[in-house]
Amino acid sequence: MAYELIIEAGASEKNYWKDLWRYRELFYILAWRDLKVRYKQTVMGAAWSIIRPVLTTIIFTFIFSRVAKLPASGSAPYALMVFVGMLPWQFFANSLSEASMSLIGNSNLITKVYFPRMIIPASSVITSLVDLAISMVILVAMFFIYHFVPVITIVFLPFFILIAFISAFGVGLYITALNVKYRDFRYIIPFIIQFGLYITPVGFSSSVIPDRWRLVYALNPMVGVVDGFRWCILGSPLNLPSFLISIVISLLFLWLGIWYFRKTEKSFADNI
């Protein structure tokens, strides 16, 4: 027989990526399930992914533009700038909270069936990606409202979405694994997300940050992602060194996430 399987301590390490490929169909179907359940369970499901960013955008525009009188970057209206920043941030925040709970939510699968565990947080990040797509529809609506024509660089948007995906997936994997190990970690996640919203340039432009702090500021990987989105959709100026630093940090997180996840993955079934 062609297919032979060897089970021993550490065997799954060797065939890790091959296994991941073999189980791709399970990945599709789990992502499909997550989506289906999400939009079936609540009629609000889809509405929610529209209402939340819109409300936050209105509040942020009011506070940062009217009350704090911060300048917009480039020529785009302030609300549009906030919303474009909100897109990747919302995606990142959703991915993080969904991924972190995904393993515990699927513990019945983990203790009963074998598959590469990475499939589960990955499929929950995919659902957030669909939310992002829905929010994009509002963006188009806002273009009409503000009579704004996006710049030609918008063709690079997929590239920036990919970077957003990498940061969300990397950080998500790391937190997911931590969450299995330390069950009270989930209380920290909402805090990280809330805190992150204010240290990421969502409600304001990163150009308000003093120049000498720009590079330090870019250690937050979402800074580069948000700046990138604004550059390619609105044509806001892009600080290249800070952008590159964010990309490097994102990749670093991806590596760290995968490494830590793989390290702890073997004992998930024993711990969960």
């Binding site: 297919y3 021993e8 019945n108 074998y114 330390y182 024993d270 969960i272």
Partner: protein, 414 residues
């Protein structure tokens, strides 16, 4: 021909210490522990002592065996003997601590009926989801879709969310998907013990079909020796993580049942229920391991803890022979009496005439509420032995295969 599965010296160990015995830690504990370590002046010596206090527990130790193509292997053992761990290792859910297993062919494991079923999704959607989880490809599921639906008998409810299904329908659908897997090797945990009797029969029939007629290799775990004996041709008896016996079931099953009737002070295995009502102790003729004469009176004493349950209860008692076949069952329904439970602790007495021929027997005792839901069911909880003499001290002579005797009156018509 080489074996389809070769298991070589598999061990699985868990570390139990006073801190590590929780299944997961919390960050709070971790931080406070680190802080304590840091501030306390405990030097390396004491810390090393703490490490030494950790105990290594072997769930499996040096387990080796081979399975040939087409074998149907039953794994037998008491709770905690390592059966589930072995299945989990074979189906790759956990890794062994040491040892090696070689498997030729596709493995599908069925450790639970309906793994991954989502209540919000419809029957149709769940077939695809569950199939994929069990390792079927989409084309494979599509090809067998009609067959699965027909087997489960749920055509009318295909597009209803599973949460509206009755528990019977749910189980039928779940098993139907699993039954249409076509792996070379099928690993099945005690999942046939669900659903109504008729469907159970259908499942066992299907399992027999899969294993005997299609020549697949099956590894099967069950507490039900009768089912094991119909389905399997070989067995492994695990005792405390070690292989105690490998070979023919006719040899192993009596050994297992004998050993379980010898275990005194062992906790009862609650097969069903046991949450709101618990049978705490069972005696036979006021003792354990009673000796009983043929056609004599036999008395069972069943102690219970009813917690807050105050309602009608129906007790039953099953008697198994040495081979694990259930040969006699007494249900309160037979005598049209239910017992009204009025207090938390109590004892139920059952008196019957012993109609069994000499040999060793095991009993299961259980209890339904008036809607026939299990309140509790403890399996193989006690045993007794029937002596080779009658109540009036005549010696018993072996007869032609009959397993029951009766106090009968013979007469010649004039």
């Amino acid at each position: 021909m080489s074996s389809i599965i070769e298991v070589e010296n598999i061990s699985k160990q868990f570390i139990i210490g006073h801190e590590a015995n929780e299944r997961y830690t919390t960050l709070r504990d971790e931080i406070s522990k680190r802080a304590k370590d840091f501030f306390s002046f405990s030097n390396r010596e004491t810390r090393r002592k703490q490490h030494a206090s950790k105990e290594i527990f072997f769930a499996l130790k040096d387990v080796s065996f081979r399975i040939e193509q087409g074998d149907r292997l039953g794994i037998i053992g008491r709770n905690g003997a390592g059966k589930s761990t072995l299945l989990k290792i074979l189906s790759r859910i956990t890794e062994p601590s040491s040892g090696k297993i070689k498997i030729k062919g596709r493995v599908a494991s069925l450790l639970e009926v309906g793994t991954g079923f989502h209540p919000e999704l419809t029957g149709r959607e769940n077939i695809f989801l569950n199939g994929a989880i069990l390792g079927m490809s989409r084309t494979e599921i599509r090809r067998k879709f009609d067959e699965i639906v027909a087997f489960a008998d749920i055509e009318k409810f295909l597009d209803t969310p599973v949460k509206r299904y009755s528990s019977g329908m749910y189980v039928r659908l779940a098993f139907a998907v699993a039954a249409h897997l076509e792996p070379e090797i099928l690993i099945v945990d005690e999942v046939l013990a669900v659903g109504d009797m008729e469907f159970q029969k259908k499942c066992i029939g299907k399992m027999e079909d899969v294993s005997k007629n299609e020549g697949r290799t099956v590894i099967f775990v069950s507490h039900n020796m009768g089912v094991i004996k119909t389905l399997c041709n070989n067995g492994i008896l695990l005792v405390n993580g070690l292989v105690s016996e490998i070979g023919s079931l006719d040899l192993i099953v009596p050994k297992y049942l004998n050993s379980s009737s010898e275990f005194r002070n062992v906790e009862y295995v609650h097969r069903e229920g046991g949450e709101i009502f618990k049978i705490t102790n069972v005696n036979i003729n006021e003792t354990k391991g009673a000796m009983v004469k043929m056609l004599s009176e036999i008395n069972f004493q069943i102690d219970f803890d009813a917690y807050n349950f105050r309602d009608d209860a129906e007790f039953f008692l099953l008697i198994y022979n040495n081979e694990g076949n259930c040969i006699q069952g007494t249900f309160q329904e037979d005598s049209f009496t239910l017992l009204k439970i009025r207090q938390q602790y109590g004892r139920v007495n059952l008196k019957m005439t012993n109609t069994l021929i000499p040999g060793k027997y095991l009993i299961s005792v259980g209890c339904f509420d008036k809607r026939r839901n299990f309140l509790d069911w403890i399996e193989y909880c006690e045993g007794f032995e029937v002596e080779g003499i009658y109540d009036d001290n005549r010696i018993y002579r072996k007869r032609l295969g009959a397993t029951l005797v009766n106090d009968s009156i013979w007469s010649l018509e004039k």
